[in-house]
């Protein structure tokens, strides 16, 4: 986020006698961190709510002891980070954490990057004063990737907090465990906070929240990332390597369009095999949360067909040059850097090749429609800004859980941290999203009514003065008013004369009596709400509650819109919403670098003639998967930039060695090119908002206060535009019958995620439990232009009859089956 910090929202505080500036309403801990002042803290996560489990962040603010993770800064506040009593508390807390904690740091995976080790040293704990009998706690595997060792767990609750406040799965929780009671004498002799912390710690352990032994979650592994000790480790990484042996390579997560900042951690394979391999992916978890594909789909590097590494194959290279000379079309996907996209665009300009990319083409068109209607070359917000500012989010046309993990996290985070509300419109009911917060309303509408959703948003949020008269009239035409007679209880005061028994006099006494009164009211029924599967009789009240105290609204638009017959009208409606409502818009580029490709390449609608496929099907295949006619480096073997959903151009570095030919070599031989791929970075088109910055000059880090300072933000060109003329929708143009939806399971995005050994989601048909039962084990799905046989897998968080068919295997050509829409009517046969 690059919002300008204004003087108005800053306050002056003094920490340990030094003047600092802090954002108003910020926690003391965050303010201190932003100003480079160290306050110890274990349980606090920057973008989540404070848990107050560790109590080690005690400070003195204006003479009172407070927890800095939970107390907000005030103008003129004086903070002291350590006093003798605070130091005594901290020492006692660290001693308690060390009670019965295994001392075999040598076999612990966290050794060397362990916060318990660090703070034990920082607080200088050199002796132990407390003791309690230990309880036997067995290690368990929670899922295919999560390994939990309760013996090492210090119950800081960071894992449960991040799972609830950020990820939204809330798949783990604190549970009770047996254990000895604390010695009564400690209550008197110990510092107060340390005793309270220990009392809770001694009784708790972390467990899956569904009551079983296994978590039912998206397996993102964020709990592993935030664990300060070695209690939570990825199953694959257990006892594989020590933290200090791994070399960290800053990069960008390659698969989704979130553009998350990651580190590939590499080390030689083994004593015999000295070639480097990626062992795991880590992240700056205070500033960015990863999804499962970013964390676990890392070993997709190209090692060639025989798995021994790629060497320069001059025969294949010559054949590739011939193929390009012969070719009419290059087919590729979004898994490509900006530089490579520019190379392909150069080939198009100089050799007249067609560029075919169905994945991105629809998005590119949609962006074009939107730009024409709104006058703005790009949408207005990003996930980071939503999390920091928004308190009302609306998601339309996106299967939030699958398409864009970062948006799902933002949607959830707004509910949990900004006291927000949310509306989720989708043809497939997602029970997980409905549970994100009390103020989340989900609408399960029919396929084809996406325009109606946007009209409802206009109705609910637009400044009616600004709306064009015809749109206003059109929206009002859905409303019917009825006069209803209702009975209300009304309280009335009646005066009576009562004889006072004592005095014998009559007194006037007033009495309150409830009386039924018939009343006529007008009820407005909003037909749009009913049309979209909501209940208009209750919606008004629910919506009024959702709207209370809300200021910043955001709209998330997804892939359903790009692959929609009425895409142009949808884009206009989005532009109209942005112009007439106080609402920011973010669009999810479908996969990886779709935004970059959409901006850089002039894509064609069809592929003709001899086709060169780049990680795609074609007559000649360039492939980073190791199965093509000429090998290419995979995304973790090349440097370059990627354009993320947040409109940032982000540098990524090569984690692993690659000795073969790259696309740049081909372009060099065909039409001439710079020596190295990264020299294309400064040539990216300025007209599309890119900047003429050299790759090596791009920063790649977060600042201490959590500001994203990676790469640069694309310039958004704005022009004055008229309000777009939007078309009405046809409420009959809905899909009926058996419907399939093109949607990948969480963690799967493309062939590269599929190749990774820690991704287990299969290429199957995903259906709700009820639907899956009726379908049986295996089905053939028949489309208009083909069919596909798939196993049926249950997705317990789905409801309804629509089934999901993944597209992550390019060889299956699911894009071809679905054509121009994400939804298709199909016939499903049991096999």
């Amino acid at each position: 986020m690059s919002e300008v910090q204004t003087v108005e929202n800053m306050v002056n505080i003094t920490i340990d006698g030094v003047q600092h500036q802090a954002k108003e309403g910020e926690y003391i801990l965050n303010a201190a961190r932003a100003n480079d002042v160290f306050i110890p803290a274990i349980c606090y996560l920057t973008r989540c709510s404070p848990t107050l489990a560790c109590r080690i962040c005690l400070v003195e603010a204006d003479g009172k002891q407070v927890y800095s993770c939970n107390a907000k800064v005030k103008e003129g506040m004086e903070v002291t980070t350590s006093t003798p009593t605070i130091l005594e508390e901290r020492r006692a807390i660290m001693e308690v954490y060390d009670v019965n904690h295994p001392l075999q740091c040598g076999v612990c995976d966290k050794s060397g990057e362990c916060e318990l080790q660090n703070y034990t040293l920082e607080i200088a704990v050199d002796s132990q004063s407390y003791m309690i009998p230990d309880t036997k706690r067995e290690t368990t595997n929670w899922s295919s990737v999560l390994h939990y060792d309760p013996g090492l767990c210090i119950v800081c609750e960071r894992c449960t907090t991040v799972c609830k406040d950020m990820i939204g799965d809330a798949a783990i929780t604190t549970a009770k465990r047996g254990g000895a009671d604390l010695d009564k004498g400690y209550k008197e002799s110990m510092p107060k906070d340390a005793y309270a912390m220990w009392n809770k710690l001694q009784k708790s352990v972390i467990a899956p929240s569904n009551g079983t032994e296994f978590t039912n979650c998206s397996d993102c592994g964020e709990c592993v990332a935030v664990c300060p000790v070695g209690a939570l480790v990825s199953r694959d990484f257990v006892y594989k390597s020590n933290a200090w042996e791994l070399k960290r390579i800053p990069a960008v997560a390659a698969h989704s369009s979130d553009g998350a900042h990651i580190y590939y951690e590499v080390k030689h394979g083994s004593i015999e095999d000295r070639t480097e391999k990626i062992y795991r992916v880590t992240n700056e978890w205070n500033f960015v949360s990863l999804d499962g594909s970013a964390r676990f789909a890392y070993d997709f590097e190209n090692r060639g067909a025989d798995n021994t590494g790629v060497k320069k194959d001059s025969m294949a290279f010559a054949a590739a040059l011939e193929a390009f000379k012969k070719a009419e079309t290059v087919r590729f996907n979004a898994m490509i850097t900006n530089e490579e996209a520019l190379m392909l665009q150069t080939l198009k300009e100089k050799m007249g090749l067609k560029l075919y990319n169905p994945e991105v083409r629809a998005f590119q068109k949609f962006l074009g429609y939107y730009a024409a209607a709104s006058g703005s070359s790009l949408y207005s917000t990003d996930t980071d800004t939503i999390m920091k500012k928004s308190d009302f989010v609306i998601a339309v046309g996106t299967a939030l859980r699958h398409d864009s993990p970062a948006l799902k996290y933002a949607f959830n985070n707004v509910q949990k941290l900004n006291k927000g509300a949310g509306l989720y419109f989708h043809p497939i009911t997602d029970t997980l999203i409905a549970g994100f917060g009390k103020s989340v309303e989900t609408f399960t509408h029919k396929v084809g009514l996406e325009e109606a959703v946007l009209y409802l948003i206009l109705d609910l949020f637009a400044d009616k003065e600004k709306l064009p008269a015809d749109v206003k009239a059109y929206i009002d035409s859905f409303k019917t008013t009825q006069t209803e007679t209702i009975t209300e209880k009304v309280e009335k005061t009646i005066k009576e004369m009562v004889l006072n028994a004592e005095t014998g006099e009559e007194e006037e006494v007033s009495k309150k009596v409830k009386e039924d009164v018939q009343k006529e009211i007008t009820v407005t029924t909003n037909g749009l709400v009913d049309l979209l599967g909501g209940d208009s009789s209750t919606f008004d009240d629910v919506f009024a509650k959702m709207m209370s105290k809300k200021e910043a609204f955001s709209l998330m638009v997804g892939e359903d819109f790009y692959f929609h017959p009425q895409a142009e009208n949808l884009a206009k409606l989005v532009a109209l919403i942005e112009a007439t409502c106080v609402m920011d818009v973010v669009m999810t580029p479908p996969k990886s670098n779709a935004l970059g490709v959409a901006l850089i390449c002039d894509l064609d609608d069809t592929a003709t003639g001899y086709t060169v496929g780049y990680n795609e099907n074609g007559d000649f295949r360039l492939s980073a998967l190791g199965d093509g006619d000429l090998d290419m480096p995979a995304m973790n073997q090349q440097e370059g930039t990627l354009t993320s959903m947040s409109k940032r151009v982000l540098p990524t570095n090569a984690a692993l060695e690659y000795e073969g030919y790259e696309l740049n070599d081909i372009v060099k031989a065909l039409v001439g090119a710079p020596e190295q791929t990264i020299e294309w970075t400064e040539l990216l088109p300025l007209s599309k908002g890119f900047k003429a910055l050299a790759f090596d000059s791009l920063p790649n880090a977060f600042t201490n206060d959590g500001r994203d300072n990676r790469g640069y933000v694309l310039d958004t060109k704005k022009e004055e535009a008229q309000l777009p003329a939007v078309a009405y929708f046809d409420s009959n143009a809905v899909l009926e019958g058996e419907i399939a939806y093109r949607c990948n399971p969480a963690r799967q995005f493309n062939d590269f995620t599929d190749k990774s050994h820690e991704i287990f989601e299969t290429f199957s048909l995903y259906a709700s439990p009820a639907k899956a039962e009726s379908l049986g084990e295996k089905v053939e799905v028949v489309f208009e232009n083909g069919s596909i046989v798939l196993d049926v897998v249950v997705d317990t968080k789905m409801q309804g009859d629509i089934v999901k068919i993944p597209d992550f295997k390019s060889a299956k050509d699911v894009y071809g089956l679905f054509g121009a829409s994400r939804y298709q009517t199909v016939t499903i046969k049991k096999v």
Binding site: C105, A180, Y239, S241, N242, I271, E639, D696
Partner: protein, 207 residues
Amino acid sequence: MSLEHFKNRNIGTQHYATIDVGHAPVGAMQTFMQVVKRSLKGELFVGLWVTLREMINALFKGDMATVKYPFEKLPISPRYRAIHDMLRLLESGSYRCIGCGLCEKICISNCISMDTRYDENQRKEVSEYTINFGRCIFCGYCAEVCPELAIVHGPRYENASEQRAGFSLFEDMLTPIDTLNLQQEYDGFGAISPNADDTIKKTPLAY
């Protein structure tokens, strides 16, 4: 994290530094003076006298300073740092090495390497361990850092071998299980000091 090393793509370029070796004699006169100075010093004869004295002592007085190596060997100090030994636990015979990797990390000539894995008993197992003795400088850091006293320096100083891989594997250095009773506790570099019990504070235990 600094990105400097990602930006250097000239991996073939070396940075050599030159050192100052003093002045060479200039001209014939200076060269001649240097030869005269070096030739006419008396130290040569002092050295010859020492040799002669030792020879007389050894031949006629039986005062021999050498041993008949390799048939004879001098006792060696426990602090001597020769080829490493990997010790076992005396009670169970299990390896002492827990695979913590500290020796690998501290090794300044970067010659120790190990592979570890999660074994069937849910323990960390050292699946491979090697020391490249072609590179080892016998500094003793590995023995000093070892928290389990598992890797120690033994008395085997004859580290010539016909093959590089001669004695670099875990099994070669490990105490053979049948001679476990002969395993000596190491009191050399990095061993626990004799008064260790007096200097540590004990952790209270609730049993």
